[in-house]
């Protein structure tokens, strides 16, 4: 630290310096310019009317999910990606049209699939002997209201018992047109899972044999797991103190 020109950021323990790769450090909320921005976070504590005098009101933070990864992906990831691309080419498809991007993060590989190609990709992944993902562990929805054009994400995890592998497929659909082809005829196990995702997120799985609500009552309005759907808590009084409902408490995010 004898160098007088060193900025405070260069001191070890004070976070990454300007020249350092913030992604390599895996620091919370810091992904530099890399990754895919899904949201911009303003302020803290959820205060919007100038009630926040802490100084954190001016905080601006871009939320970035891990972005496109370039090859090599490492381990068996390359093998699966090669096989998938090869198998799609054999069927006369341009792989880059079907697989929009590939993300490797935290030891997991995610293929982002264009929605119209999902059933074809799923069938290929299941049937190709070199891929053989026999077991689908269902579909999970994620709602990113500010990810314009692909607000609703459907996430599938496929497990290969033959090769002992696990991959993830992700499909983004716009809120205005929340349609997605069903994969029930490839993986019958997704019957209830797709109904559940429809029930909670309003993603319509075209071709599903009977897409009805599964958890909520049939005449329920709205899709409860969407981010704009309130939790609907009520405040609780305990020993004279009034504790606000969970969705009314201050939020640090």
């Amino acid at each position: 630290m004898s160098d007088p020109k060193s900025t405070p950021n260069d001191t070890p323990g004070n976070g990454p310096g300007p020249g350092e790769d913030v992604n390599a450090q895996g620091l919370p909320g810091q992904r530099g310019d890399q990754g895919e921005a899904i949201r911009v976070q303003h302020g803290m504590f959820g205060a919007r009317n100038g009630g926040d005098t802490s100084g954190y009101g001016g905080l601006v933070r871009t939320v970035r999910l891990p972005g496109d990864t370039s090859r090599p992906y490492g381990g068996w990831f390359d093998e699966v990606a090669d096989e998938l691309e090869g198998a799609l080419e054999e069927q006369g498809l341009v792989p880059s049209n079907a697989v929009e991007k590939t993300v490797v993060d935290r030891g997991e590989i995610t293929f982002h699939i264009a929605r119209e190609h999902l059933p074809r990709v799923a069938r290929t992944l299941r049937d190709d002997p070199a891929l053989r993902f026999e077991l689908c562990t269902g579909v999970s929805g994620v709602h990113f209201p500010e990810d314009k054009g692909r607000e609703l994400h459907a996430v599938y995890h496929l497990r290969s018992l033959t090769h002992n592998r696990l991959i993830r497929l992700e499909v983004g659909v716009p809120d205005a047109d929340p349609h997605l082809p069903s994969v029930v005829d490839v993986y019958p196990t997704n019957d209830w899972h797709e109904r559940e995702t429809y029930d909670f997120f309003g993603i319509v799985f075209d071709g599903h044999p009977a897409l009805t609500r599964i958890m909520m009552p049939d005449d329920w309005q709205g899709f409860p797991q969407r981010k704009d759907y309130p939790l609907g808590g009520i405040p609780v009084e305990y020993k004279g103190a009034r504790i606000p409902a969970p969705d009314q408490r201050r939020s640090y995010t």
Binding site: P28, G35, R106, C136, P246, T253
Partner: protein, 440 residues
């Protein structure tokens, strides 16, 4: 003939009878008058033998089930939605209540997912991991015991029920000793455990293992060779390997079809690769095979528990990173478990920084880098998967549980259609669904 139990009502679809009691005379008489013997029976959601609030809609022709459908959602509690409004550590309090018979699996799966997002899997202390494995295997015993006990009771074998709950009680006593609670523990936390094992826990577990070893053969004597039991279970609830794979069935249902798939062997987590145990299978594809597998898995779990006890070395039970580790110096006070007096003295009396740190971590929680992760454990019912998404905040952005009961229950129709009405009970019991997990 009583009319109060089954009152007829004319609708556009024909006469509908609402059965509310045990009197079937009128139904039978009406069925005889009708052209066909086709009746639709609503079994549940309040029915003693449907494992909680499961509704089965059965179309029966005489004694044969021609079509079977499930109605679920009666126990939906919005746990996944609620998680998004609490910090990451508070999540365990919710997930432990999903499949309430496999609490430790829910907690561990959730924590493994969070730890993967944090990138601290390697830093979890050995002692915490060993205790997690020990509790999970004890949990496998208690879950299988309930399955066998209630499954037996539904066949009229009340002795098995008494035996199963008697033995489960011993394990619940251990939970109470270790976590303070018989159910809904919230003991496994992101980063490790809420607290260390109390004094005497190791001896108590050893004693319990000894007793369980003595008691397990009783189930063999009672049921395994029992001709009535076999008559009710064999070739009932048949689902072969192709059916299991396409319907996504895992756990004992899949292993009864002959595939030795067990995540503890295939994708070892929590150091399962270093334990010695066998994965039992059966090739009968029926309820009896699943029963035998559960029985054998309990013996294997005892083996693992013993290995855990042997390798339990003193050490921390929470990650060293104080920005993640819950400042949980807990102690038993006159009003229950809470922060230890020493800890309170320190934060209130001597160190303002410690107080700030405690306050920040407890109210705000820690931040988790953005991204998503999938963690899966082999629960007694099958693959319990957790899909966790973070947006870099102190609360989960989205948590989805792939509960094995939910997925396996889909196989009910394939197992029951074409069989007898009485066998529906056996088939559903052999899936071992717990509605808390199915509906979440």
């Amino acid at each position: 003939m009583s009319t109060s139990h089954a009152s007829p009502r004319d609708t556009t679809e024909g006469t509908v009878y609402t059965v509310t009691g045990g009197d079937w005379d009128e139904i039978a008489a009406a069925a005889q008058r009708a052209d066909d013997e086709r009746i639709i029976v609503n079994m549940g959601p309040q029915h003693p033998s449907t494992h909680g609030v499961l509704r089965l809609i059965l179309e029966i022709d005489g004694e044969t089930v021609t079509e079977a459908r499930c109605g679920i959602g009666y126990l939906h509690t919005g746990i996944e939605k609620n998680l998004e409004y609490r910090n990451w550590t508070q999540g365990t309090t919710f997930v432990t209540r999903m499949d309430y018979l496999t609490s430790f699996y829910n907690e561990t799966a959730y924590c493994l997912g969070v730890e993967k997002l944090l990138g601290i899997e390697e830093q979890i202390p050995d002692r915490a991991t060993v205790v997690r494995v020990m509790l999970m295997e004890l949990n496998r015993l208690s879950s299988h015991l309930v399955c066998i006990a209630t499954g037996g009771m539904e066949l009229g074998a009340t002795t098995i029920m008494i035996y199963g709950f008697r033995d489960r009680e011993m394990i619940l006593d251990l939970y109470e000793l270790i976590t303070g609670l018989r159910m809904n523990h919230a003991y496994i936390r992101p980063g490790g455990l809420a607290q260390d094992l109390p004094p005497g826990a190791v001896d108590a577990v050893r004693e319990c293992v000894k007793k369980m070893r003595r008691n397990l053969p009783e189930y063999d004597k009672l049921a395994t060779g029992n001709p009535i039991f076999k008559g009710r279970m064999q070739d009932v609830g048949y689902l072969d390997l192709a059916g299991c794979l396409s319907l996504g069935a895992t756990g004992p249902v899949l292993r009864a079809a002959g595939l030795p798939h067990d995540l503890r062997k295939a994708q070892p987590y929590c150091g399962y690769g270093t334990y010695e145990f066998d994965v039992p299978t059966a090739d009968t594809c029926d309820a009896y095979g699943r029963f035998l597998i559960r029985l054998e898995e309990m013996r294997q779990s005892l083996r693992i528990v013993e290995q855990c006890l042997d390798r339990l070395a003193p050490g921390p039970v929470m990650v060293a990173d104080k920005k993640i580790a819950w400042p949980a110096q807990l102690a038993l006070g006159p009003d229950g478990l809470g922060n230890s007096l020493d800890h309170i003295k320190k934060i209130m009396g001597t160190s303002m920084e410690a107080l700030i740190h405690h306050f920040k971590l407890v109210t705000e929680g820690f931040r988790v880098p953005p991204g998503q992760a999938y963690a899966a454990v082999e629960s007694p019912k099958g693959e319990l998967g957790v899909h966790v998404v973070s947006d870099g905040g102190t609360r989960p952005y989205r948590v989805h549980f792939r509960d094995p009961s939910f997925t396996n229950l889909q196989a009910m129709a394939a197992m029951c259609e074409g069989g007898q009405v009485a066998d529906v009970i056996v088939a559903v019991a052999s899936i071992d669904p717990v509605m808390g997990g199915v509906d979440r």
